[in-house]
């Protein structure tokens, strides 16, 4: 079932297709607040914080997404696959962005 992700700062709603990462959906819909980097979970450029909702996170570099950040909802959007609707923040303070 397709879900939606809302960007808190802009209110913009991103439609998520089945099996589509948050980043790919954002790119497809011209949402530039989420930046595209390597698209492989390696560089950290697409990092956002999920404020609400459930998701699966694929393999991400611990160098750019350490465990303590994962614990409070930070994700790399290229490896984030929603399993409910999401609210995300593109301006949450991270140690490494």
């Amino acid at each position: 079932m397709p879900y939606q992700a809302q960007v808190r700062e802009t209110g913009k709603v991103i439609d998520l297709r089945d099996g589509e990462s948050l980043l790919d959906a954002a790119t497809r819909q011209g949402v530039t607040a989420i930046h595209r980097g390597c698209r492989g979970g390696g560089c950290g450029v697409c990092k956002v914080r999920v404020l609400s909702g459930a998701y699966a996170l694929g393999k991400c570099s611990v160098a750019v997404l350490p465990p303590d950040e994962r614990g409070v909802g930070f994700v790399l959007s290229c490896k984030t696959f929603a399993s409910t609707d999401l609210v995300v923040s593109t301006e949450a303070e991270s140690q490494d962005r």
Binding site: G37, R39, G41, V45
Partner: protein, 299 residues
């Protein structure tokens, strides 16, 4: 010496192997534990790329192959005399590799020199055809160069040129000429075997494979789309080196390039200088501007 091996970290070895063999088109020559060993079709040594499974991408080390075994002693002394600690890597640390020396560059990157490595050959030494059968993907004949980032470009360039006898093909300087922002270095007849550009220490910008011509670069770019591989930039031409190129990312976010063309410098080559305000044209000659991704995405 020449660039012989790049050992890079990947986050999923099986997924990465699929990409490096089927899309890039390297050949697997060995697998042991969490490491896989690969080579381009025209390379004679056992491997030029080592993939190591890890929880983060990036470069473990790069290794340059010296001509004679005794060169290791000579460089071991020279590097130590320069004030950089050197250690010996024992034979058999990695599959097919003999003894090596290892040291850390002023930019924080681990560099090795070696001479001894098992030769598996390219099968093209007696009355050969120009290329073998069963090539896959982009099918680069060989590894070409790598670009690393670091804070102190002046120091690393001084070390590479004075101690390891690299030559500068091109340099990027601040407009006032005071600051060194990047250097492109060669030890063979390539416009760059290794390059350094200002940025965070110990990071990998990219490593590149050689292709024969511009048409092959275009075909490589086609393969990126066909296989949904993330494109970074290109196909385009570099001002620096005059080569043609396309950049893309491996499944863990390490940047790869396929590169062809450029001039053939000798040891007496007069370096080319670019000023920082022309960096867009220097890097991407056709677009004449850099994008944020190219300068900030590092592993």
């Amino acid at each position: 010496m020449r660039l012989g091996v790049v050992e890079t970290r990947v986050m999923d070895l099986d997924e990465s192997l699929k990409y490096y063999t089927e899309v890039v088109g390297l050949q697997v020559t060995g697998r042991e534990g969490n490491r896989a060993y690969l080579k381009g079709w025209d390379e004679e040594d056992h491997h030029s790329v080592v993939l190591v499974e890890s929880d983060r991408p990036g470069l473990n080390h790069m290794a340059f192959k010296v001509r004679f075994e005794e060169d290791l002693n000579r460089f071991e002394k020279a590097v130590a005399q320069y004030g950089i600690p050197v250690r010996r890597v024992t034979k058999g640390t990695r599959l097919a590799e003999g003894e090596a020396i290892e040291f850390t560059l002023p930019t924080g990157h681990s560099m090795q020199l070696y001479q001894d490595i098992e030769k598996v050959g390219n099968g093209l030494k007696l009355n050969p055809d120009p290329w073998p059968d069963n090539l896959k993907g982009m099918a680069p004949p060989n590894l070409d160069h790598l670009l690393l980032t670091g804070d102190d470009i002046k120091s690393v360039t001084e070390f590479m040129t004075r101690v390891l006898d690299f030559h500068i093909s091109e340099q990027v300087v601040s407009v006032d000429g005071e600051q060194l922002i990047g250097t492109f270095l060669f030890r063979t007849n390539s416009p760059h075997d290794i390059a350094f550009i200002k940025g965070p220490d110990a990071k990998l910008h990219h490593f590149a494979f050689h292709l024969e011509n511009w048409q092959d670069v275009l075909r490589a770019a086609d393969l990126l789309t066909k296989n949904d591989i993330t494109l970074d930039m290109g196909p385009t031409r570099h001002g620096i080196t005059r080569g043609t190129t396309v950049y893309f990312f491996d499944p863990s976010g390490n940047r790869n390039e396929v590169f062809t063309g450029g001039y053939m410098p000798g040891a007496d080559f007069t370096p080319i200088t670019w000023t920082e305000d022309q960096l867009g044209k220097a890097i991407f000659y056709l677009e004449r501007q850099l994008n944020d991704r190219f300068t900030t995405v590092l592993t």
